[in-house]
Amino acid sequence: MVRGEGGAAEAALQAVVMAPSPGQADALLHAARRGDTDAFGKLLAPERPRLESLAYRLLDDRADVADVLQEVYLSAYRALPKYRGDGRLATWLYRITYNACLRHQARRPETIDAEGDQGRPSPDHAASVAERLDLAAALAELPIEQRALVLMIDRDGFDYRAAATALSIPLGTVSSRLAAARAKLREALSPDPERGAV
């Protein structure tokens, strides 16, 4: 492989954000397995925003997200030669991210802070903002496994089997825990009769 003067590193993570075609993905995967950082960066680029968002919602701390994301990239780079390619790459990456978040959460002493979004300005309408804050707070209060489930299935569109694989839980457990998580989140989304009362 011939590269220009710019080097392998510079292109590695600079956005080729559009998902590559299956043929391109195969070529990227093959090159990345041989240690090509450029190909590795391109392979992960389409998944990165969702991995960041997943880590943020599981940890609720931007500083932690940066550390976890770095850990995810390193873990994926190291483990890529062992990746069998018999499932979606995204599922595999979600599993790595989820495990990295679990490890990170276990290392830090404090509990998850549900106030994470409240200081962030938003141009949206006040009611919408309040609704989002309620949802974010409710999401943060869920057990981390339930949080991961609703994000994977309801937000990111994974099927139950993929979620079960990523989180290493039985398929039946996915259904029951997802139902419990949805019930709590729907409660947060429902109109609050007290809101706005004098």
């Binding site: 080097g7 392998a8 510079e10 960066g41 309801d154």
Partner: protein
Amino acid sequence: MNPDRDNVVEAPGRDPELGAALAALPHPELPGDMDARLRGAIETERRRRRRHRSIATLGLAATLAAVVLGGAALAGAFDSNSHRPPPKVMLASPLTGSPTPYPTNSVGQTYGGGQEGIADPVLQGVVAMRGENGYCWTSDLDGPQPISLQETAWLGAVLSRREVAVYKADGVTQVGIFIVGGGSMTYGEPDGTTITKALPNRIAKQPPVWLFDQMKGLATDAGDANAWAWWTLTTADKAAAAAGDSVAQTGDPTRPVYVAIILGDFTNWLWSLPKGASAPQYSWIYEVIDAVSREVDGSGASAKPFTAAEKLELNIVGLRDRIRM
């Protein structure tokens, strides 16, 4: 094999309304240098993986040679208690023995992007913090290389993220700054267990120009102008405690002093030794410098790291060149 890249497939049982609300939640705003951090982490891992292969290759060759030759002579070359082996020599040696594919600058230094299966160029292509294209010295990116478990443990405590100068292909003209380091360090204990240790995440501060010049001068005099150094501003009593017996405390214990610790190949240092005595194999130099007078209050040298200095908030700096950006 096809790594199915269909990113979002409408799944049975998905709650689209809840999904839309979740998708509308704010996305995290990550640090501006996140791309650089990820690039640095992966590049570091790639080099580490390649180095392991090269060390394994060298180790196998050495083992075979030792068997053939009786082993005695070569065994010493891999004894971590002997003087520092120069890891940069291993990195600079192409594994395949083939001619380098990299272009060279006017002084013959190779530059470009690292390629798998061959040694890194002397100057590696990077994108600096503000987007400038340029090159970092591979030795700057690699950082200090421990040669014993004790050094590994010490570096694990003090090897924070650090700024590295980015140059034009000439390796002289600085065009920007690149940040490397952080993450974690993995190493093996003698009993075979593997330890992964999180490295300090803060970015090391740059020293005052006079202090950099003073440390550079000392390292040059001691025989390794491209040594690595750690520095901090503290008080005399804390500096003396951190240095252990190597530096005696003098004067007011609360006065401000700079601590400088330098790691390099100082085997050629000109020592005042009795005739016939061999020079000690020192890799570590310690200096306490009065912050006001800039006079050296005390100094010491050791073959081992100054373990107690871990308690100070040390800032790593490469002495090969001062960052001028």
